[in-house]
Symmetry: D2
Subunit: 440 residues, 4 copies
């Protein structure tokens, strides 16, 4: 790679299908930070630092000062939605941020008005909307491409990232039409129902050579056709489903238990939430998509085939319950039945009073900024180093996805170090002690 990352010159457009709770929280936040009235907490790109060199060197720059990321002042937001509300109205309706904060950024938010959406009610039965495009799937894709090109020209942008913040679509598995670009394009022409709305956006973005980020557990780019297109057009992709809340906690805690060879007999996870996401997931078909995504994380971390005595018989259950009194304040409760020395049992209960969109917004931001960085670094196809942010990261054929958040972090950090020509870190550190031995 030899540190040939192109600088982040000009403006970056972040185009978002789905201007709901997450997207409006993200946009309002970036505006508020630009105005100096708030801070981008929870964003590794903005707040995090990275150790370089040996511990004794004491070099810990901010990540944004280490790698060339798009500056907040250079970000321009746009998007599509099935409702015609501008971002201010949508944010008020989402009830995530305080009215007083939203009012402080009202003009900027009101100026962002959604384009009509590519929508198919069959993929989200609990939603409806009138602010939609019409036409065959091929025509919809062409309209989205036009939208992107027009937006770029209109705002004088140098780069684009497309960021799916729409709903979870109903569950279905990949089939023939998803196996190659050729097959996919044939299906597009045939207006095939196995092409979901999110795929239309992804196709348009990748075709134009722009990175595509998928915040939901939908299939979307997780198929050979899109991987092929992504490589061909040097348009990075990374996987799907923002890792927040309960799954975030799970991929923090499970590696810790596995590190200590503590056995797990059962893991019961339940959630209560009352936002639009909760409403959509109240439909069993949509929940199935989310469930598959949420259930997958433990197996890779625990490797039951290597540790059958510890993890061979784990009962893992995930539930999501629509509970309007909580609104966007998603709450999770986990019960974990573990066993230790000689098989003696113990229990861990975790109650996370979180806020769905507050956790998701900085993840969406970081994925957009790092995808743009990857593009400028000449990286194409799957970006496994962005697994850190995703419930269902993609990985090369033959590799199981990595869900351990600490290995993911190591991978992300060493990728950045590698990009910039710094030494990789292994945490071996024996030399600190050999030097000392010699000096005595």
């Amino acid at each position: 790679m030899e540190n040939k990352v192109q600088p982040a010159e000009g403006k970056l457009g972040i185009l978002i299908p789905g201007l709901g709770a997450v997207a409006t929280t993200l946009i309002a936040g970036v505006v508020a930070v630009n105005k100096g009235i708030s801070q981008p907490i929870g964003s590794l790109t903005q707040m995090g630092n990275i150790r370089l060199g040996k511990r004794t060197e004491n070099r810990y720059p901010k990540i944004k000062d280490f790698v060339p990321l798009a500056d907040f002042q250079d970000i321009v937001f746009g998007g599509w939605d099935v409702y015609s509300d501008n971002v201010y109205d949508a944010a008020v309706h989402a009830s995530v941020l305080d009215k007083s904060l939203l009012d402080a950024v009202r003009p900027e938010l009101e100026a962002i008005v959604p384009m009509t959406a590519a929508f198919d009610k069959a993929y989200a039965k609990n939603l409806s909307g009138e602010h939609v495009k019409t036409g065959t799937r091929l025509e919809l894709a062409q309209q989205v491409e036009e939208d992107i090109k027009n937006f770029k020209e209109q705002h004088g942008l140098s780069r684009i990232v497309v960021l799916w913040c729409g709903s979870t679509e109903v569950y279905f598995e990949e089939s023939d039409i998803h196996q190659s670009v050729e097959q996919f394009e044939a299906a597009l022409s045939a207006d095939d129902k196995l092409i979901s709305p999110s795929m239309i956006y992804a196709y348009a973005a990748l075709k134009l050579g722009y990175p595509f980020v998928n915040g939901a557990p939908n299939l979307t780019v997780d198929m050979p056709a899109m991987v092929e297109l992504s490589k061909r057009n040097q348009a990075p992709i990374a996987g799907k489903d923002f890792k927040t809340g309960q799954t975030l906690m799970k991929t923090i805690l499970a590696p810790g238990l596995a590190a200590r060879s503590l056995g797990i007999k059962g893991w019961f996870s339940t959630n209560i939430l009352g936002n639009r996401d909760g409403l959509v997931l109240d439909d069993p078909d949509n929940f199935r998509t989310k469930e598959v995504s949420k259930l997958s994380v433990l197996d890779d971390i625990l490797q039951p085939e290597l540790n059958p005595e510890l993890y061979g018989d784990i009962y893992h259950k995930v539930r999501i319950n629509y509970y309007p009194p909580h609104g966007d304040n998603k709450e999770s409760w986990d019960n974990i039945d573990i066993f230790g020395w000689l098989g003696y049992q113990m229990q861990i209960k975790i109650n996370f009073l979180c806020r769905d969109s507050i956790l998701a917004a900085p993840v969406a931001l970081d994925l957009a900024l790092f995808s743009d960085l990857a593009k400028r670094a000449g990286m194409s196809g799957i970006q496994e180093w962005l697994s850190f942010y995703l419930k269902s990261p993609q990985s090369a054929p033959g590799l199981r996805p990595e869900h351990d958040i600490f290995k993911q972090l190591m991978k992300l950090q060493n990728t950045l170090r590698h990009m910039m020509g710094e030494d990789l870190i292994t945490h071996l550190g024996l030399d600190y002690y050999q030097d000392l031995v010699e000096s005595l």
Copy 2:
């Protein structure tokens, strides 16, 4: 190092000051495993595996099959205690393991009878015992040395590890007499009260060139004099206070929150337990020692000086409450006040219904086995790679201790790989994708 680790030939003696709940649980467990009636769950050395080479190589041997550790059949236990109960009686009294399990290993446990202890009531006011040595501190140290030599000869052992499983001593800080071997030995001769009982055992072990492991938060070997002795006699040491329960959870969770740049406003940790450890810690002076150990872990992980907006104002409080109804079933409750995007607050509550000795026993075991391995690998002085197991690991002067359990694990695993001549792992893994790119 060049893979010159000496093999684990002959028998290993594990000599334990303090044959209470942890020690008897450890001993009973090793006997039970040897009899094939139980499994050493929670022990990384026995149950854990380690990845070698690339992910595509699929090499994940058990650690005990990768590095030459003492075999369970070659371990001989002994120890000292202020009570004269044999290990079976002490285990029954500790009420950790089921009567039926203890009865299955009764003869082996009854055969282990404690030697008289070096004890000073000033260091553990809530304890008393009649089964103690008499003499000046120098005489006590000489008696302990004799005990060790006799035990080795009597059981035909080839190697020894001394493993402190005694109580937490009252809090005090290091002073002049702890600065060098010379000063320490002078103080020993002067019967100086600033030499605590645990130091007497540690001094005897290191003087004989045997590794010393400290399961309690006492000063013991955490001072220049002992580090000097440890290096001089090639007798590994590692730090202090078995990392179990609440602090284990804290060093799992805090790195996860920090990884995501989530801010922390407060962390309240309370514990209820009813075993002898709880009784000793009910004395404020002894609790102080434990409190210092437990409070220290967050600062290193969060690095507030680098992240003042996130961690500059954290309020961290730790409480331990003696609560007899729970016995050894220690239970912790944590409330963590975090904040994310734009400063919005969230809460995490963790309720860990754990078992103190069940978590501590495999940690004690692994530290003993790895310390013996380090000795055979020619490693002297502080073994920072064993930080993984300790609430208060020692590190080289000028280095802050590492508390992030995942960096500790990385350090431990890469040390083992390094020891055995395997490639270190960085989790970069870009080559998986470059190969693929080329193959297309």
Copy 3:
């Protein structure tokens, strides 16, 4: 009533359809208590006392010393089941009680062998069993009547109570055939599918003039036909579904919140359990029966029509999840969103690590003993004073059932006082102060 309660002379037979976890825990417990090796904790009839007269009189006899209940030594157990296991084997399989306790009462338990059950798989799809009667519903009812008569004669009993401890049946609502004894008997003759197995047992018991207790949320006796039969034959009934675990907690807590006029916005209740009950309830049709029973309790306690500002908009959701790792150790988690002064919101979380059968067994016992008492006191029809024990108590037409456990307790205690000619208690107690005023 004039204190004309007949004494508890002779033996009492308790005949149980469904010799599963609850029934075997009950039977083993009564035998263990009779042998002096355990205590009937959780049973108000055995352990509870009752205040009589003024507080200054200091009269608090045990309930069993105050009203004439059947003595433990005079109880004879029998029952029916779809499996042919004797009570010892069934208890071992249920995994509620320790093996060592069961072995201490093994001969007594092995001697109790179930009679063949009246069963219909349509009412419990997740169950199957070969140990069943054959015939039309009318024939089944006649066979059960014969079973009861034979059992009574065989054991020389003076009285009988029939106690349903079988599974929850699928949900259905009452129809024409449940409106009168005449219609019910016609349906029985017609082998009508709307007569469920539990109704067959209830009909047989009431027809013979014996009390019938219903531990499950099935319709069973909660219909005009059975109320009519119950009155006609002086055979007490009380309602359905043992009140244990989460609902017990709910009817304790909700009255407390209502007492203080604290508002409730939402109440989310989830359960995890892994016993046979959990398996049956994993079928949505059976869960529906339980859900209706569990959801009903809040309305009566909170009276939203009288307190629309406080309880008019409560969102109440109940979930049960089959989770095998917990076995009979049912665990509930509740989140309650309340609001107080000026509408400010607060939250209560309750995590109850309970044991299903341990809580249910003494409830089953008390209902059997008090139903027998009611019969001897000449009370027929619905016994509202036994609401205390039931999730879905029955009440007179036009009266809403009372779910507040403290009003239920008051009703129970004042009924006992009334039965025995003691003053009712109102807790007014002004006279304590008037006397004092005068005496000054």
Copy 4:
């Protein structure tokens, strides 16, 4: 009593020593309700209703429509404080209510300026204040009396209640000087240090014949001298320490467990809070006063002397931790170790995310309004029927205080019924069924 309650004519002054979080929340709330912008949730006098007559009569008036209480529009607030902040400034500083709500009632709150306080730093070491009276205790009492008289005249009030909302004073027990009015007055003249500031206010109020309510666990009126004065001057008193949060939950839950004869082995209660109350209680001497109050409630409810097998060996521990991140948002965590049938153990965990002042304000209000009612009903001395609101209610000599909140509620409701000439309620209700029997 014969329903001779005098009507609530004219204005009622509520004079409050301690204009901190609770008092300002109360005052702001009453003003907000009067302006129609909020509701007095949590106040039984304002929101609660009471059943009258038989259930079939369907009579459930609001309590405020049933008994003659002071109208909100007729309440005038005043008070004393060691800080000179007006009520608006104090409320802003207390950070309980939203700024927007406080601004809506700002003029009314700013108009209430505290009088100088009778203060003694020896009773609250963690507090300091300059806005204090000077003089001997006798002089301070005379000044407070003058304050009350002046306030009454200045605002044209017909009645007064004095309501202690100040801090918890250090722990001490009653001595000779607290045994009679005569001894107390002699001590006052002698400026005896055993007279605490709260006693000075209480003495002044009772001497003038005005009810005194004590929101803190201080001795204050809980002594023979004050009871004597209270009776002599027909000035009602009731006990001490507003029952909110954890203790409220405890006196709801414990009666429920006792009702079912479930045993209790241990009850561990911890609290975290960060308001001024938390700061004062961080001093062990002040905490001792609160601890005694909080620990007392279980014994009366459980009556261990009557139920030694169930409650004879309970380990009850209460902790309060100062934790600034939570401010007034007090949070409690309870672990309750219970046992049921045959001694099998279960656990209940309760996590109450409450708001200290939000719970306390309506309790303070109701006690003030009911004390005024009692005065008008001619009731003097201890008002045991107000136990419902207090952690440490007073009761007649020889009677143990009643802590079961449901018996307390019954006592309160039947007292109101008795006052107004309505039938007392016993919940017997057999007649509902006798009528039915006859009608068949």
